[in-house]
C-alpha cells in the first residue's frame, strides 16, 4: 500500500530542494535512483498496457507532479543528465538529454496505480532534477481507473 509517510521516501524527502546534484551523487557519476523501486510481478507487466497505448495517442496530457512520492522503474541515474535537466535548456526547448528522436522520451511519463503509487515509466532524470530543485515537474500522467 502506498504510504507517503513511510521510510521508503526518506531519501527523496531529504533531497527535496537540495539545490545541487552533489548531495545525491557525492562524487560518483552514477548512483541508484533516489526513490523506492516500483513493485513488479513474477511474470508479465504490472501495468495495463492497453491503457498506456491508448494514453499515448494524441498530444501528451500534462500535469504538475510532486517529485517526492514516486517509484522508480530504472535502477540508476547519471549526474550528467540530471545536471542537464537542472539547467534551463529542456524547459525552454524541450530538448532531452538523450533519445531525442524517441516519442516516448519527449516528456516524463508516470503511471498511477489504483492504490495511488506512482511509477516513473520514463523521465527519471527530469524527476530527479525537479526533486533536487524542490519543484513540481510537468509529466504525462496515466491513471488506472
Amino acid at each position: 500500500m502506498f504510504d507517503p509517510a513511510g521510510r521508503h521516501f526518506d531519501l527523496p524527502r531529504r533531497l527535496f530542494g537540495a539545490g545541487s546534484s552533489e548531495p545525491l551523487f557525492k562524487g560518483f557519476p552514477k548512483v541508484p535512483a533516489p526513490w523506492p523501486s516500483a513493485g513488479r510481478l513474477k511474470s508479465g507487466s504490472p501495468y495495463d498496457l492497453d491503457l498506456i497505448h491508448q494514453s499515448l495517442r494524441g498530444g501528451p496530457n500534462m500535469e504538475a507532479v510532486d517529485p517526492r512520492w514516486l517509484h522508480s522503474t530504472q535502477p540508476s541515474v547519471l549526474q550528467e543528465h540530471v545536471n542537464y535537466y537542472m539547467g534551463g535548456e529542456y524547459a525552454r526547448t524541450g530538448t532531452t538529454a538523450r533519445d531525442q528522436g524517441v516519442n516516448l522520451n519527449q516528456v516524463p511519463r508516470l503511471y498511477v496505480r489504483r492504490d495511488g503509487a506512482t511509477d516513473i515509466l520514463s523521465g527519471h532524470h527530469r524527476a530527479t532534477a525537479s526533486l533536487l530543485q524542490g519543484a513540481q515537474f510537468q509529466a504525462h500522467v496515466i491513471r488506472e481507473e
Binding site: P60, M62, A91, R92, T93, G101, N103, Q106
Partner: protein
C-alpha cells in the same frame, strides 16, 4: 485551455500559469518562438508535431506520404 509544448511554452488562450511561461495563440507562433529559442527548423517542427499528436514525425515527408499519413504541421 492550454496545450503543452515545453515547460515554458504553451499554446492556447488562457493566461500563463506562472511568470516563466509564455503562452502563444497559434501553432505557427509556437514554432516561431521555438526557432527564436534556438531550435533548428526540423527540431522545432518535430516539437510542434509532438505537442499536437504525440508523434514527433507526424509531418508530410516522402516517407510519410508512402504510408499515407496526413500532414499535421508544416512550416
Amino acid at each position: 485551455m492550454l496545450t503543452y509544448v515545453t515547460q515554458t511554452l504553451y499554446v492556447g488562450d488562457d493566461p500563463p500559469p506562472d511568470s516563466d511561461v509564455v503562452v502563444v495563440a497559434t501553432w505557427t507562433a509556437a514554432y516561431r518562438e521555438l526557432r527564436d529559442r534556438g531550435l533548428c527548423a526540423d527540431d522545432a517542427r518535430h516539437r510542434i508535431n509532438f505537442a499536437r499528436t504525440g508523434d514527433m514525425y507526424a509531418t508530410r515527408t516522402a516517407a510519410r506520404r508512402q504510408h499515407q499519413r496526413p500532414a499535421v504541421h508544416r512550416v
